[in-house]
């Protein structure tokens, strides 16, 4: 009996929380809920928490500046959900946020969770701004509710292809991918960019996430003697791959995407990883317009350093609140069209969206391993 009553309490509390837009805060402000989704448990939980903190910082700032929308002072609240980086869980929490009548969603972190959840947000007509999902498909499904504030894999593949052919002067190129959605997608984009830039693809080889022996495909590649090897995949494979490349006496340049632009890669490859090139969407924090300021603010509030995407989560939240302010409404149907023509000076750069919801002029930065650490080379795209 007691448990039943407790259950009833919990349910009613949840229902009340669900009444979002009609709720009032203690000081008479109108409460508007904004959802956030990312992996808050599991191996990527540090990244999910980082995004959540970025969004929370934006919300706090908006509340401090007492934004007035529709004649009422608004108190924004962040409803944060955990998708465990699991696509199935992603759709469950997306439904939960829709039941809670959130005005918009910041998230998800991974492409794999963002894509299936985007249909739920689209059906409900609620705008979704992802800080870090880069798979092309996300914004190519025809959902006008889908946005991202980071350059996508198409842009990254293009920059990588141009860099390989034009900057590094590679004429003949071999591609390896790990057959994951990310690795294959990036390799496909890289391949078409290389062809466009006038380079030749000698071969396309494949591996997968469970393998650590690449000698067979690397030997084939060595026989073709390419100028450059591109790897679409993650650091755990690229690390040991570097050693085998050197053992076989392959001297071609090695290039990868953001999956290998990690400290884990430099740890795993050690001295063998020296001179490897890789890209990552966005600018390095120090180069962002409000980067240093944001880093200090983050550190002051959370007493920890930024992990990765917090500035993007911050911008995703801010650009959403900006659209609400301009529309003078928190109704998704009313402010959604204004989100589309946002022109917002974010921490990560100027934020504007194209007709698909992709970031206009998103920048991609290139890095190279020098003395065992990633060193920034230059940034492509981005304009201002």
């Amino acid at each position: 009996m007691v448990t039943k009553r407790l259950f009833a309490c919990v349910v009613s509390a949840l229902l009340m929380a669900g009444c979002g837009s009609d709720e009032e805060s203690n000081d008479g402000r109108k409460v508007v809920n904004i959802g956030h989704v990312g992996p808050l448990t599991g191996p990527q939980s540090h990244l999910g928490k980082d995004n959540e903190r970025g969004a929370a910082l934006a919300i706090d700032e908006a509340n401090q500046s007492r934004i007035v929308i529709g004649g009422e002072v608004i108190e924004f609240r962040l409803l944060s959900e955990d998708d465990e980086a699991n696509p199935q869980k992603g759709t469950v929490v997306a439904e939960r946020l829709m039941d809670a009548n959130v005005a918009g969603v910041v998230g998800h972190l991974n492409s794999g969770t963002t894509i299936p959840a985007s249909k739920i947000y689209f059906d409900a007509g609620v705008p979704q701004v992802s800080p870090s999902a880069t798979a092309i498909e996300f914004t190519h499904q025809g959902y006008e509710t889908a946005y991202r504030v980071m350059a996508n894999d198409e842009q990254q593949g293009k920059v990588l292809g141009d860099f390989a052919v034009k900057t590094l002067g590679a004429r003949s190129i071999a591609i390896i991918d790990d057959r994951s959605a990310y690795g294959k997608g990036l390799a496909d984009e890289f391949e078409s960019a290389v062809k466009q830039a006038g380079g030749t693809i000698m071969t396309r080889e494949f591996t997968d996430k469970t393998k650590i022996d690449f000698t067979a495909i690397l030997t084939t590649i060595k026989g073709l003697d390419p100028d450059l090897i591109f790897y679409g995949g993650m650091d755990a494979q690229a690390g040991p791959m570097m050693k085998q490349i050197n053992n076989l006496g392959l001297t071609a340049n090695f290039l990868g995407g953001d999956g290998i632009q990690t400290t884990q890669f430099t740890v795993l490859s050690g001295a063998e990883g020296e001179g490897v090139y890789a890209s990552s969407p966005g600018l390095p924090l120090g180069q962002m317009k409000g980067g240093t300021e944001f880093r200090d603010k983050y550190k002051q509030v959370y007493r920890e350093d930024i992990q990765l995407y917090a500035p993007y989560a911050y911008d995703a939240t801010s650009v959403m609140i900006d659209a609400m302010t301009r529309a003078d409404s928190v109704d998704p149907a009313a402010y959604s069209p204004l989100l589309r023509d946002a022109d917002f000076p974010g921490v990560t750069g100027r934020i504007r969206f194209d007709e698909r919801g992709d970031l206009k002029g998103g920048s991609i930065s290139l890095y190279r391993v020098t003395s065992g650490a990633w060193k920034y080379i230059e940034t492509f795209g981005g304009g201002e």
Partner: protein, 309 residues
């Protein structure tokens, strides 16, 4: 550089490790008719223990000679794996020895998952970097390059495999093992302590597995809690290919599988005119396995038709 020679060398290096691990499967199968699916995890534990010992020793005395380092680390890894195998047999398999066939098989899969998770808790989820203890020198053989570590892998595997065959065929212990595999009951009547022999078989297999784990970690410079799973599966395939239960078969199967994988991945594109790529390398290996089993259901060197499998 001669591409074909290089692919053959790649295959032999890969194959020697498969063979070493396959011996562990085939020994246990020969004597008990049990497929010990946890054997791949024993290999992983061997690699992890060796890595932990090496890291600890390097932290204490950075100038220790590479040979002492490897010797201590290998001894520790082998001891732990042997003890683990002893426990596994005593606690998990012995109580089920007279149970229906499926029970020990499922237990083996359970132990495999258990060991993987324990390793994950102890050593974390990340891929771990294995420090390079020996300098990598590249040698040229028939126009192909092979590193000193790879030469070492082939040599050590060869020595261990020959040693095992000698033990099994020419010692009292080996005779007792062969007798036990023929018939546990009759062997028992002849005064052989069957329980002890089975236990020893597990332990020898685990020791070989530990060495294989160290070789793999040293060669690729990485170790991970899930590294034993795929390796175990491949080695099991090799054992079946060669004729499970047959020691020579495991060695042959391992080397063959290594060669098939390597040459398959290297040439499948050319052979099919670019229709199939290196993404079919595993498919290629398994097709060969199926073809062999269609014509020789007991594997290449398997003699008797097993009624127990």
């Amino acid at each position: 550089m001669d591409i074909f020679a290089q692919q053959v060398i790649n295959g032999l290096v890969l194959g020697s490790v498969y063979a070493l691990v396959a011996l562990g499967y085939t020994m246990v199968y020969g004597i008990l008719g049990l497929i010990n699916f946890a054997h791949g995890e024993v290999v992983m534990i061997g690699a992890m223990i060796a890595l932990a010992v090496v890291s600890a020793l390097l932290a204490v005395s950075p100038d220790m000679s590479p040979f002492t380092l490897i010797l201590i680390a290998s001894a520790a890894a082998i001891l732990v794996c042997v003890f683990l195998a002893f426990l596994m047999e005593r606690l998990a398999y012995r109580p089920l020895r007279n149970a229906p066939r499926l029970a020990p098989l499922i237990t083996a899969i359970g132990i495999s998952i258990l060991l993987q998770n324990i390793a994950m808790i102890i050593w974390g989820r990340k891929y771990k970097m294995v420090p390079q203890i020996f300098p990598t020198e590249t040698h040229e053989i028939f126009g192909a390059s092979i590193t000193s570590v790879q030469l070492f892998i082939v040599a050590i595997s060869g020595v261990l495999m020959v040693g095992l065959l000698l033990v099994v065929h020419f010692t009292k212990l080996g005779r007792a093992m062969r007798a036990t595999s023929e018939s546990q009951r009759v062997a028992g009547l002849m005064g052989i302590n069957v329980n002890k022999i089975i236990s020893v078989t597990f332990m020898i297999g685990a020791a070989l597995g530990a060495v294989a784990g160290i070789l793999v970690a040293g060669n690729y410079s990485v170790a991970h809690y899930s590294m034993g799973f795929m390796l175990g599966l491949k080695a099991f395939t090799a054992a079946v290919l060669g004729g499970i239960g047959n020691l020579g078969g495991a060695v042959l199967g391992g080397l063959l599988l290594g060669l098939i994988e390597s040459i398959g991945a290297g040439y499948i594109g050319n052979l099919t005119g670019g229709f199939l790529g290196s993404n079919y390398q595993d498919v290629f290996a398994f097709v060969v396995l199926i073809v062999v089993l269609v014509f020789r259901p007991t594997g290449i060197m398997g003699e008797r038709v097993s009624e127990r499998a």
